[in-house]
Amino acid sequence: MRAKRKQRLIFVVVLLVGFSVAVALSLYAMRQNIMLFHTPSQVISGEVPENRLFRVGGIVVSGSVIKAEDGLTTEFGLTDLNHSITVRHTGLLPDLFREGQGIVAQGSLNEGGIFVAQEVLAKHDENYMPPEVAASLNKQGTFRPNQPQG
């Protein structure tokens, strides 16, 4: 390898390594901000911002969804399988919202410790299959959708 090429190779490699380290350090420093949502456990242990909106994510507890009289307000339990909190939302819910589904809600805690959500978004996982397959997996009891993520 000619000396000139070697010099250029060293230049490019040093540049790439330098930038990688810089990016890795910044991402590490910002890791809490890059997280899209907090978990119910973090809400309970008080590791969430006060007096400002934040997102909380988890799984809708089975059998916990209560529709209020007005037909618009929904209350449900949200869990990360360690702790759960109560979420209240007034407004439309996405089609995928159902019990056992992963969701992300944006809002804040009220005095009663209830998370009042202004927006509820539904997550879906990486499993795709026809309804019949899902039904037969369900019957065999080997179907485990919506495992906790993140």
Partner: protein
Amino acid sequence: MMWKFLHRLSSLKYFYEWSGKWIPWLTGLTIVLMVAGFYWGLFIAPADYQQGETYRIIFVHVPAAWMSMFVYVIMAIAGFTALIWRTKVSEIVVSECAVIGAMFTALALITGMLWGKPTWGTYWQWDARLTSELILLFLYLGVVAIHSAIEDSRTASRLSGILAVIGVINIPIIHFSVTWWNSLHQPNMQLVSASPSVHPSMLYPLLVMAAAFQAYFIVLLIIRMRNQILYRERRTNWVKQLLVEVN
């Protein structure tokens, strides 16, 4: 043998002549795979147990997203060789990949947003996956911008090549964004495993579409590179000769 062939390919004239005969075959292959993939994906594959018919956008979204990253890696490798060995062919690969990659990235972002509205309930969230893919689009556009801002094509290639190489850092970030941070975007699909997370009846058409996008990329790259070669070599005798023959 291999090196000798690669060395010959690095001559613009030889590349031009060699690549020409592949275009009709690759165009035919692209059309066949696209038609087969779309028909299989949109009409034969079953609806999803959870998302119903909406999930079918996966047959465009996922191949486009894969290509957006694949093209970047090709561009970065070409940028690397262009920076160190100053081969003209790799300089052309960088500038042409940037345009094609930007197109795939925009397609992945747009189809993702259209998919997000009915399933998540929102077009956009500043989620790690979505944000890093948007940065990828800006990286591509940056390479295009640097390249077209500088008059001299060799200097332009060198400077845009540096951005192309550095930007490759973003590729593992995009891939692992859904693992490192919690996000609204689904985790990566597990395709190479004993029980893939996508049912075979949906996985096969998805793989056909992925192959169709690959073929489309190659044919597009060759056509664009040939144009660029003619432009760069417009003052050489072989191009003048070629133009005389065509007219």
